[in-house]
Symmetry: C2
Subunit: 595 residues, 2 copies
Amino acid sequence: MGPLIQLKDLDFLLYQVFNAEQLTEFPRYQDHDRSSFNSILDTAHGIALDFFAPHNAKADHHEPTFDGKKVTTIDEVKIAWKQFADAGLLCAQHDYADGGMQLPTLLNMACNAFFMSANPSTVAYCFLTSAAANVIHAFATEEQKAMFLPSMLNGRFSGTMALTEPDVGSSLGDLSTKAIPQEDGTFKIKGQKMFISGGDQDITENIVHLVLARIQDAPSGTKGISLFIVPKIRTHADGTLAEANDVNLAGLLHKMGYRGTTSTVLSFGENDDCVGYLIGEAGHGLKYMFKMMNEARVGVALGASMIGYRGYLESLTYAKNRPQGRLPTDKTSHSKPVNIIEHADVKRMLLAQKSYVEGSLALCLFAARLIDEHQANGNEDSAILLDLITPVVKSFPSAYGPKANDLAIQVLGGAGYTREYPVEQCYRDNRLNPIHEGTFGIQSLDLLGRKLWQHHRLGLVLLLQRIQQTLEASTSEEVAPLAKIFKVHLNTLQQTIAVLGQSLHEGKVNETLANSALFLEIMGRVIVAWLWLEMSNKALMTYGQSENHEDISFLKGKLQAAQYYIQWELPEIEHYAKLLMQFDMTCSNMQIDWF
Amino acid sequence: MGPLIQLKDLDFLLYQVFNAEQLTEFPRYQDHDRSSFNSILDTAHGIALDFFAPHNAKADHHEPTFDGKKVTTIDEVKIAWKQFADAGLLCAQHDYADGGMQLPTLLNMACNAFFMSANPSTVAYCFLTSAAANVIHAFATEEQKAMFLPSMLNGRFSGTMALTEPDVGSSLGDLSTKAIPQEDGTFKIKGQKMFISGGDQDITENIVHLVLARIQDAPSGTKGISLFIVPKIRTHADGTLAEANDVNLAGLLHKMGYRGTTSTVLSFGENDDCVGYLIGEAGHGLKYMFKMMNEARVGVALGASMIGYRGYLESLTYAKNRPQGRLPTDKTSHSKPVNIIEHADVKRMLLAQKSYVEGSLALCLFAARLIDEHQANGNEDSAILLDLITPVVKSFPSAYGPKANDLAIQVLGGAGYTREYPVEQCYRDNRLNPIHEGTFGIQSLDLLGRKLWQHHRLGLVLLLQRIQQTLEASTSEEVAPLAKIFKVHLNTLQQTIAVLGQSLHEGKVNETLANSALFLEIMGRVIVAWLWLEMSNKALMTYGQSENHEDISFLKGKLQAAQYYIQWELPEIEHYAKLLMQFDMTCSNMQIDWF
């Protein structure tokens, strides 16, 4: 199997583009330095290579089974889980006092990148557990923490997020799982949840479900929803196991990809004996969940980026080594075939992949950096900017990671369509990402209907400030021409926002939001093009004077990918902007009977 | 399972848009009329529904196995094969004298559409056999025909096309399978072939491979290639079976989709005892194969269209019946959720699918009509036009059928990602189509490097004449505004061709062909947009005066999809044309070390 990531690229993004060392100036991270960061990265890389990558295909072929009583996963998953937990990676970001490393989000994301490339299905159990632990850490009582948190951070227990229900999907306000108050302050939970990843498995001693439910007589809609801790097996105050808790697996869902991760239908309280513990205040369930949702969405984006990245590297290796065909100017039949990377159209497919996956990874790491600035340094502006761009961070990699995988298959041709090569699994795995944690359409409504206008558009102002800084630095002969093209399209974005803002102001809600997907696409491309300018500037600063061949090639590659993205992909937004500003109602006017 | 196609749409395309009844004026088809056409369509539809659709998912789950000796397929495949053969569909287009129906290609394609929607994997065995039989019918000797053809047309034998080799891929000129002349006029074949669909199975008594090989001492390159009939089991002059023929299955390839069709690695002459029969003249092998290739490519396109169509209908049914969420203007929490088809973004995803799959199907049927005009009526212009557009016919549906399937999954959301719904299989199956029978990149070089300029550009002149006729008919208030937009972009296409032609004329081959994929994309969108104008005009002519609700809805749907395609999708070509006319070398200039 090929490399998980280009290490030089990751190093460049962390230390040059996003200035990871500067994070050690924040008190929470002050014990860290570049060397400790690199040591953790090395550990993660090693575990990903040795314990996750080798069974990625096997876990896909041998997906978890359910015999009506028990779920069975392959042994390699359990070994990988233990390695991940034993290395302290489940609690890498937690306090030293809790056994954690107080690792910045930026570095944690970089560690996660190795695992997402190596084996997104197996590591999903780990990431879900970290996310659930974060919620408990942030909002649960000390007693609740004592019961569950240590076991989740050391790998005895795993965690899940149980939101969706069979008839509810993304519309959480309609959920119907009930919570009936008991005299001892606990609740009896009753209802069914669907699409619960990791909802059952044979990897850990216990599973801690975070369940959204409606307390008896609570109002309908989102305001009536509370959040509960519901363990699969009840737990004593000290975290030791007690009896089972009436959480039953109704069945496994079988997916196109991400097959190593169980997707479950869970029944809570079939026998009216399912205990749940309320987290925080009643009626605030969605608020607690959404506090974590930004991070969960960046996590999905990282997965999409890295599955894309993995496919890119696989197709690159193949293209460098597969002789076939001749260049158009070679009309002889006696010449040797060239390696397919020599063909202009193969270069196009590789360059497009590079621009998508490296751009996506940069976007995820940018979001991670904003999380650190806010959480470890109290920077509210960073939180506001993150809030604005989260729909883009979730959606762009989720759209373009799969596109990259599509191109990777195409580079390999017939071989890429067979299961003898890894790219078809990448393609299947990555197809989940535009769906979960909010589809592209839902993210686009969130962006255009809400996020863009929050805080008197301060998020947008902050974004434009950052972009302006990059543009001011884009004075080199290499980058200035790209910055010039970029400005034209940035201007289009601003015009579009002005027109749509005016229209919303006039109360034309449906008209303004009808083509929200186009707006999200525009925002995504502008932000990623900006990151390509930023990467170009930083690559020039870092390697512009180097005489080392590898450095020069790296720099040239970044510049060429930036040029590709800005000359080929970015200008397409002009057409989308036109449709938006004309309030084109073609789709919206389509009537059901006309299909 | 949902419908295979909208029957009203197929009827409209056949009889209104492509004037199927007019074909009965050709002597070869004179015994047919609309009633006989419809009767054959009904038969095909019934067999597709009853014997192909029911095991589409099962054949995917239980792909053929190979125990080292024998391939095993599920029984349903054998039953379906027999039904198809017994209905005379293997030889529907053949002469009455050979037991055929002398069915026009246009109608044969329409029959095939049902099967491609129902079960593309199982019907692949049938279509491969028809294609091989067509080659034998056209180029083999009477003795050879007597040995093989009747058994292929009645379903005793199947057929394959054995072109690709492990180290050769699309570059057939490099193939190395040898043919050694024997004293009795036969040849001994020796070599390995790869990606041979249907190359082994347990469905038929015998398999007739059409094998490209190089006769001993033949020149290198394409001119040294000859075509051979190589049966799996040797056959007496009357078609009865003799002994085995040293054709061995080296292994099955396991694919992401299209799993019901075996994809094989075949060894010919491992024991130096593989008999082959030369077809036609030595050294003309590729010419014979390519005579059939236009039809094979339209066949691939039809599959891509219909798998796309099937996904469209599945997602349409789901969207009409799945309540979730509320419209943006509904801020109450007490209202009932709407069916998701009410959401503007879901309408967009359905309308895009409709425009892709109905446009693709129209393109395939247009190509079929051209084949009839040429083969049954001797119209050379039709052959030249078909030759020009074949790369587009192959590539557009192969690109946009899968895009439609991607959108179908997105409409279903999490459900669409599970194997409990059929759209994920559509997505996997359809991913083959941009690869086989010539990738998008190879088709684009064929179009821009060769087809466009052949016959002093007569193909283009003929295409523009047809487009002009449509534009002249586009005078209605509904269609005229769309035609006006279309003309702008048609003009861009013509300008682009002028600039690229001039550049080729100046010998700038690499520069001109570097971005050939963009040119193919432009041609595809213009041709499909033209077909949408044509469909709009014909729908108005047919249903413009109707007061029947279903007719009016059908008409409105066609007009709205045309509007979508021409206002949303077509204008994107302006950016591609700009890159082409600027001879943008961004991709081509990328160096291997820079990746």
